[in-house]
């Protein structure tokens, strides 16, 4: 079981980076070295390791045991390899990006553990191991999103994220324990092989909600755009290969169970809603990173659509290829922001065409996202489109609309910051583009090569996963690319000049498409409802306290009265005894 050493190496590297925090430059190189070693280990395990499960005892009670189980089947190795490849590239980008010397140690510690958690998640072979990695992901993402905690918005974003995450965590644990109670095992293999018991439907439904929280699907999606307050390498990581992918991955692993529980339709519907919401918000959002965040919600939605159609291979193909272009897009956004003094509104960003490498890599990524032939993104999207064509024409039509919208928004995202900077700022901005740290450009360049090369996965992935995938016909390819080209043309027409879709002119259309505020209002409403219940309970609680207090006072008061009666005078006692006897007789007679 060699793959586990990748996890251990990264955790050790993270701790070493934390300990070396006083040395300004050491943490970044320690972390980068750790990630490269981890990649080497993973590559070795990928090429020479054998598929199987490995069990390490953890705890047991009675006849039941709860071991740590790792498994290395093709799905596991696919995600592990993906995380393994992306991690060093993110760390490479961070070398240029994270130039605050005092925060190095903390950053590399948190992000290394984050990466390690995702790797552990990839090879988890039973529910309890998976949950361990799942929680580590949640907690480290909380720390990373709130990395600049002294910024009010970052702290708020971190809280939104952790609130969503904790809903998912508790539901996930509930589901796990329900599944264990039904099967008396936590091993994926055993659960998938066991006959389905109908009592599992509740558990699988809870599990699905938990997956939606982690993968930012409707109605739990708003934490993801807010999470853009974290450092850009974190965003690039979060959206490409870690965190949001965790939910999709687990859905893929347990897909037969969801199918038996009849929840595929729910996946399909929620996936479509999320994709539509993501695309519409991305069309109208102005924050350069939030556009990409909504785009991720859309991408993940499409993956759930594919899983909902039971097209596992198509989903996993898109799962992998999406990581490469999305990482590039975020890295480019970080570079553009860096050159424009950390401005975030795309209409205030200028001159991205000044850096040739930047513009080439981000164009490749954008074309891949839009779904232009032979880039890997095309194959991912077309595979899902084809799957839907054979299953449900309505779904296919909606996906086509989403595809069109995504090619519009991504070219809006690409074209608008290309404009020439206003007079006076031009030289300053060009020189900033010229002085971008090399690592911030090198990392996307490597990823761009991967975006192109990953097209080959279309040929190999179904065989590797031993899954059937509907072939993409010439007509499908033409339609898919045609829609993408149409979107690009529309984007070019609309956005080559400044300030289209200004809120003043298209207010109704924009506010209908940009429903983020509405969703946040709904969240606030629910939170306020709970606070109101809390206030009510607190009032009851105070009442209870007052009642107890006055009860106590009453006893004291009664004690005072009693003292006057119990005064040792026989005649008083005699009267009392007489009354008692009369009462007793009365009770006996009646």
């Amino acid at each position: 079981m060699i793959a586990i050493y990748a996890v251990i190496v990264l955790v050790v590297a993270g701790i070493a980076a934390l300990l070396a925090r006083r040395h300004a430059l050491a943490p970044r190189y320690i972390a980068l070295a750790g990630s490269i070693v981890a990649l080497a280990i993973i590559a070795y395990a990928f090429l020479y390791g054998s598929a199987g499960t490995y069990s390490i005892p953890w705890f047991s009670i009675g006849q039941y045991s709860f071991p740590i189980v790792l498994e290395t089947y093709s799905l596991n190795m696919l995600l592990l390899m993906l995380v393994g490849v992306i991690t060093p590239l993110i760390f490479l980008y961070s070398i240029g990006f994270m130039d605050v010397p005092t925060e190095q140690g903390r950053f590399y510690f948190e992000i290394s553990v984050f990466a390690a958690a995702m790797m552990l998640f990839a090879i988890a072979g039973n529910l309890i191991t998976m949950f361990l990695a799942w929680e580590m992901l949640g907690i480290t993402s909380y720390l990373l999103i709130g990395f600049w905690y002294y910024k009010n918005r970052a702290a708020a974003a971190a809280r939104t994220a952790i609130t969503t995450i904790i809903i998912g965590d508790v539901l996930m644990l509930s589901a796990i324990l329900l599944i264990f109670s039904a099967y008396h095992t936590m091993s994926f293999n055993a659960i998938l092989a066991a006959p389905y018991s109908s009592s599992l439907t509740v558990a699988m439904a809870l599990l699905l909600i938990a997956l939606f929280t982690k993968s930012a699907q409707f109605p739990f999606h708003e934490w993801l755009p807010d999470a853009m307050e974290g450092p850009t390498p974190v965003s690039a990581f979060l959206h490409s290969s870690t965190m949001v992918k965790a939910g999709v991955f687990l859905a893929a692993v347990l897909l037969p169970l969801f199918a038996k529980a009849g929840l595929l339709r729910v996946m399909l519907v929620i996936g479509i809603i999320s994709a539509l919401l993501g695309a519409s918000n991305a069309l109208t959002e102005r924050h350069v990173k939030r556009i990409l965040a909504y785009s991720t919600i859309e991408d993940i939605g499409l993956m759930f659509v594919a899983l909902g159609l039971n097209a596992l291979a198509a989903a996993m193909l898109f799962f992998v290829v999406q990581a490469f272009y999305k990482a590039i897009l975020f890295m480019s956004a970080g570079s553009i922001m860096r050159a424009n003094n950390e401005t975030t509104n795309i209409y205030d960003l200028y001159g991205s065409s000044k850096s040739k490498l930047l513009v080439i890599t981000s164009s490749i990524a954008a074309l891949s996202l839009a779904g232009i032939v032979p880039l890997s993104g095309f194959f991912g999207k077309a595979a899902i489109g084809t799957a839907s064509l054979y299953a449900n024409l309505l779904v296919y039509a909606v996906l086509a609309v989403i595809g069109f919208a995504s090619s519009v928004y991504i070219f809006r995202w690409l074209i608008v910051p290309m404009r020439r900077a206003p007079e006076g700022e031009e030289t300053q901005i060009s020189s900033k583009y010229a002085h971008l740290p090399r690592s911030m450009l090198a990392s996307p360049a490597i990823l761009a090569v991967l975006v192109i090369a990953a097209a080959l996965l279309y040929l190999y992935l179904p065989g590797y996963l031993a899954q059937h995938m509907q072939g993409i016909g010439v007509l499908d390819a033409a339609t898919e690319s045609g829609i993408a080209v149409a979107g690009i043309l529309v984007a070019y027409m609309l956005f080559r000049k400044v300030e289209p879709l200004a809120p003043s002119r298209h207010r109704i259309a924009v506010s209908a498409l940009y429903n983020s505020l509405l969703v946040n209002k709904a969240y606030a409403l629910i939170a306020n409802l709970f606070y109101a219940i809390g206030a009510g309970i607190d009032a009851i609680d105070n009442g209870l306290y007052e009642a107890a207090l006055s009860g106590g006072n009453g006893v004291v008061y009664a004690g005072g009265k009693l003292r006057r009666i119990v005064n040792g005078q026989p005649n008083v006692y005699l009267v009392a005894v007489l009354i008692g006897i009369i009462l007793l007789v009365a009770v006996m007679v009646v």
């Binding site: 009670i61 929680e135 702290a155 609130t163 809903i167 109670s181 009510g536 609680d541 209870l544």
Partner: protein, 469 residues
């Protein structure tokens, strides 16, 4: 074999008495030495139990007329609690006296309280159980009454009224058992064997009176009203010990009660329902607190309710899970109250409406608090996670899908605790200046508690290996 339990009680009694005539520094030295010695002995007992797989039983003749002997015992549950109490007391002595007032009295009280706790958790009969119960109540009273905050008198009086009521109910239950078992015994194991012969109506009465006594202490709705003020007004050491250890008096008693009386199986559903109500009640009440200590108090009540839920499952998952949660929660809540005490000393307030930017001023305290929150919400690798897993497997097998309901209250609690963290710890909008510096003792105490939380979270077999089924 060396009488570890007697030695622990002896050391603590000697320490309590010896610390009285001396000044501040010597009394602290004595307290540190005594609690450390107890901790070492607890660790040794655990090691011996793991090695030989045996449990402990130590006995001396006491009051022969009633058939009462001074007998102590320790199996898995008792060892878990004794270990927890000795860790919490040690941490409280090391770093708990952040107020650094009345050092002498506070050290003596911690040792007296630990004496009561260890005595109660290991007592083999209800006579001793009751004696140690009352010693604990009295030590707790003084931690509130003479060492507490501004409102301490009111809080202490409410605490005392509830405690006396609980003691009376407990005594009633114990005496009824004694008179109505054919063999007239106080022995806990003896009662378990003989309780079947007690008439059902009387069992109900015994169960009810003892149940009431224990839910006052745990505390569980509706008899928890003494709790928020008592925890908030007690000294930091007092809060740590009251919430971490004293609440386990009730929880442990409840565990004994459910394993002792056959009637328990008939009322377990009601107890579970009460636990679920109490958990949500506590979670919602916590959401309306602006004082960090009161908030922790309500989360502690929530965990107490989950302990009751586990006990009411009446299977070994629930029972041992509850015992594990007693350990885990004792450590976690002590950590939270220690951090809250440091915050009180640092900023002169624990009102989260006023506090800002704690992480900037007192990094170790802020991260410690966050760890306490993570532990309370059941993060894997902390002891609470193991406990939650066991408890809810137990409740699911006893009550079906509904068994999971109390767990959902943790969503509300966690969400609100993270709100507090965001508001008081992270945001620096208006900066609160600190007036104090978190010292080495506090950091050492944090480290002890954090290390213990992870030790029992990562290596649960340290205790679960002792479970005999």
């Amino acid at each position: 074999m060396f009488p570890y339990l007697f030695a622990m009680l002896g050391v603590l009694l000697a320490g309590t008495l010896a610390s009285l005539p001396f000044g501040k520094r010597i009394s602290r030295g004595i307290a540190v030495a005594a609690t450390l010695a107890v901790l070492v002995m607890a660790a040794l007992m655990l090691a011996i139990a793991l090695g030989s797989g045996s449990s402990f039983y130590e006995s001396l003749p006491y009051i022969g007329v009633f058939g009462v002997s001074f007998s102590l015992q320790a199996g898995m549950v008792q060892l878990a609690l004794v270990t927890m109490a000795s860790i919490v007391a040690f941490a409280a002595v090391i770093g708990g006296n952040v107020e650094s007032e009345n050092a002498k009295a506070s050290n003596a009280l911690v040792m007296l309280f630990e004496l009561a706790a260890i005595g109660l958790f290991s007592s083999a009969n209800f006579f001793l159980f009751y004696v140690f119960w009352d010693i604990g109540v009295i030590a707790g009273f003084f931690m509130i009454y003479s060492l507490g905050g501004a409102m301490r008198r009111v809080a202490a009086n409410a605490y005392l009224v509830y405690s006396i009521f609980a003691s009376a109910m407990l005594l009633l239950g114990i005496l009824l058992i004694y008179f109505y078992t054919p063999v007239h015994t106080f022995s806990i194991s003896g009662i378990g064997a003989a309780a079947g012969s007690i008439p059902i109506a009387l069992q109900e009465l015994i169960f009810l009176s003892m149940f009431i006594a224990f839910i006052v202490k745990m505390p569980v709705f509706p008899l928890h009203s003494w709790m928020p003020n008592a925890y908030a007004e007690a000294s930091t050491q007092g809060s740590m010990l009251l919430s971490g250890v004293l609440s386990k008096f009730g929880a442990y008693g409840m565990l004994l009660l459910f394993s002792m009386l056959p009637i328990a199986s008939k009322v377990s559903e009601y107890a579970f329902a009460l636990a679920a109500i109490s958990a949500f009640y506590a979670a919602f009440a916590a959401m309306h607190q602006s004082d960090i200590k009161r908030m922790i108090g309500y989360t502690s009540m929530l965990e107490g309710s989950i302990i009751l839920a586990g006990i009411s499952a009446l299977n070994y998952f629930g029972t041992y899970g509850s015992a594990y949660l007693m350990l885990a929660h004792g450590l976690a809540v002590a950590l939270l109250f220690l951090a809250a005490g440091s915050i009180q000393k640092l900023f002169g307030s624990t009102d989260m409406r006023a506090l800002r930017g704690i992480v900037k001023n007192a990094g170790s305290t802020a991260y410690t608090f966050l760890l306490g929150v993570l532990s309370s919400t059941g993060m894997p690798l902390t002891a609470t996670f193991i406990a939650d897993v066991l408890i809810f497997i137990g409740t699911i097998s006893a009550f079906g899908v509904l068994g999971i309901v109390p767990l959902l209250s943790i969503i509300l609690m966690g969400a609100y605790m993270y709100y507090a963290v965001r508001r008081s710890f992270l945001s620096t909008a208006t900066f609160t200046q600190s007036r104090w510096h978190v010292g080495v003792p506090q950091n050492v105490a944090y480290a002890i508690l954090i290390a213990s939380i992870f030790l029992f979270g990562i290596m649960p077999m340290l205790l679960l290996q002792l479970v005999k089924i």
